[in-house]
Symmetry: C2
Subunit: 336 residues, 2 copies
């Protein structure tokens, strides 16, 4: 049933090294032989064993994307599909493919399972999955890896990240220039890097415009609709209300929208609302929401390129870089 290179060699009356050379289209084989062998191969429905090739070439031709499926709420989850698409689009050019590696237990040693066992030739993971120790281990083994998300502390680590700080600046600047004066920031927890980076951008931009930073206008909490609703409601009942809200997530934005409408303020005339992370329904909210858009397909591409360059030993002049978000202005912040 199973047909190997030997069967082809016999059937074609050549040696198996000749067959191998035909498979790899070696220039040292005559065209007539190639034709003959190929003929036999297709007659016998022969496809070389990928595993045997891997062993002989000492290369698995696949890379791993490490994820932690248990964290359902993770920022990257919603963009999983497009990130994978981006990664795949580049590794496919090298005939590599992509293995999804889920981390199961706390100390799931995917390093052993995939890296040292040579099951994959490189990995992509996000910065929450990698501490400095592991990064150094990988570097010692000179095992190719790329991090999604900024990594501090080691200038040899290849990473690509969305520029969340810039994003925070952009969205804040937009609101200021649109004419809003008292901008609230309804966000997540400080421990969340993405949140705190965005928050930093917000804070810096206020300063740049000499707008006083009001401690009370910043709400920390879970990224839920309820939290958005409660926060906005609370702020709107104060003496000096905010006139704009920056929401750390769409859920929060929904809650804020509800609260603002309930309090009978007009959006965007009286209150502006902007949110991070554009999503398909954002243009169809009432009013359509101004968002920051992240090109996560491109993020995946960038990560893929960074990794393949390491694998192929191409030098990469710039292996730590940010991807700029894009501001999509919609009705919800068109004050004028």
């Amino acid at each position: 049933m199973k047909v190997t290179i030997n069967d082809i060699a016999k059937a074609a009356n050549v040696s198996k090294s000749t067959v191998s050379k035909v498979i790899n289209n070696s220039p040292t084989i005559s065209d007539t032989t190639k034709r003959k062998v190929r003929q036999v191969m297709s007659e016998h429905n022969y496809i070389p064993s990928s595993i045997a090739t891997q062993l002989a070439k000492q290369s698995s031709l696949s890379i791993g994307l490490i994820i932690d499926m248990s964290r359902r709420e993770h920022f990257l989850n919603q963009f999983f599909y497009s990130i994978i698409g981006g990664i795949e689009s580049v590794v496919a050019n090298f005939n590599y493919d992509l293995t999804i590696v889920n981390i199961h237990s706390q100390r799931d040693n995917f390093l052993d399972r995939f890296v040292l066992s040579k099951k994959v030739e490189g990995i992509i993971l996000d910065n929450t999955l990698l501490d400095t120790t592991m990064a150094n281990q990988l570097l010692e083994h000179s095992f190719p890896f790329t991090v999604i998300g900024k990594m501090d502390g080691n200038s040899d680590v290849h990473w690509v990240d969305i520029d969340n700080e810039l994003g925070g600046e952009m969205i804040t600047k937009h609101l200021i220039e649109a004419g809003y004066q008292r901008i609230a920031f309804i966000g997540g927890f400080n421990e969340d890097t993405i949140f705190s980076q965005r928050f930093t951008g917000y804070r810096d931009m206020l300063q740049q415009y000499d707008i006083p930073f009001v401690d009370n206008y910043v709400k920390n909490g879970s990224g839920t609709t309820e939290f958005g609703y409660e926060s906005a409601k609370e702020l709107l009942s104060e003496e000096v209300k905010p006139d704009a809200f920056i929401c750390a997530s769409n859920y929060i934005a929904h809650g804020v929208l509800e609260a603002v409408k309930e309090a009978n303020f007009a959006i965007p005339e009286q209150i502006g609302v902007a949110t991070f992370d554009n999503y398909p329904l954002a243009p169809y909210m009432n009013p359509p929401l101004t968002c920051l858009d992240n090109d996560t397909f491109f993020l995946g591409e960038a990560a893929g390129n960074l990794l393949m360059n390491q694998i192929k030993k191409h030098t990469d002049q710039n292996y730590q870089h940010f991807i700029e978000p894009k501001l999509i202005v919609r009705e919800s912040t068109r004050k004028v």
Copy 2:
């Protein structure tokens, strides 16, 4: 730098077959030897080569999930993450892992690339990616595969699907029992299997309740917010308006909601709105939307089990089955 089973054998003063047996925890090796060898292995930081093991065992320990990334709009994409989670959760139990295989060109022969080359031991794909010819080819090779989505025509094909027809029935029945009489169905194109199955359920349930089927109450078109909006607006301006809308997608639902509010009808008192495919923001719409919920993690699990049973040659009594959707009743259809 690279340490193999031979190095361990020498260092431990045993033969490499002994080392191999220790690796595989063979009962024929004495505990003392095991301890000794394991000691040496960890000292040398030795991890067996996955590729060599694969070749020797003739098993790649991995399965493939075939997808077509170019179809960004495909129904299953939004559930990609949870489907993968479901699949991974079962294959991981067998120490298998999951390779993402993107189909690039029209006639990308993933059959050669992955199936015949033995790069993976089984595949999961959706029914739009597989015609009867290919299914038969796979069956001939007795290559394990599982289809996501119903496959007609061959009783040997393993598949699992969401019961969309039942879903259509459930949502319709709910509306009828909630007191709505004239139920419109705003959907996609008839060529879309998912849509037509749901539509069939809708139609059947009307009949079951002796409610006349009004041709005009069914709108076919793209699943966009615009289409939902226009369709609802049109229907609401008729003499005998519908008093409920079933929406084929969340985008459509958004459009319908807008149109209904604009026409100043009260939801759910005057008009009921229900939609397929529960999504995170559905509970936070205004009003919260009644949805049909599909457990896509479970769908992935089911597909994984169906596949692993084939690979492990466990007989599966029931290898074609539906997953029941769940109706989540929210404010938008609470007429009374």
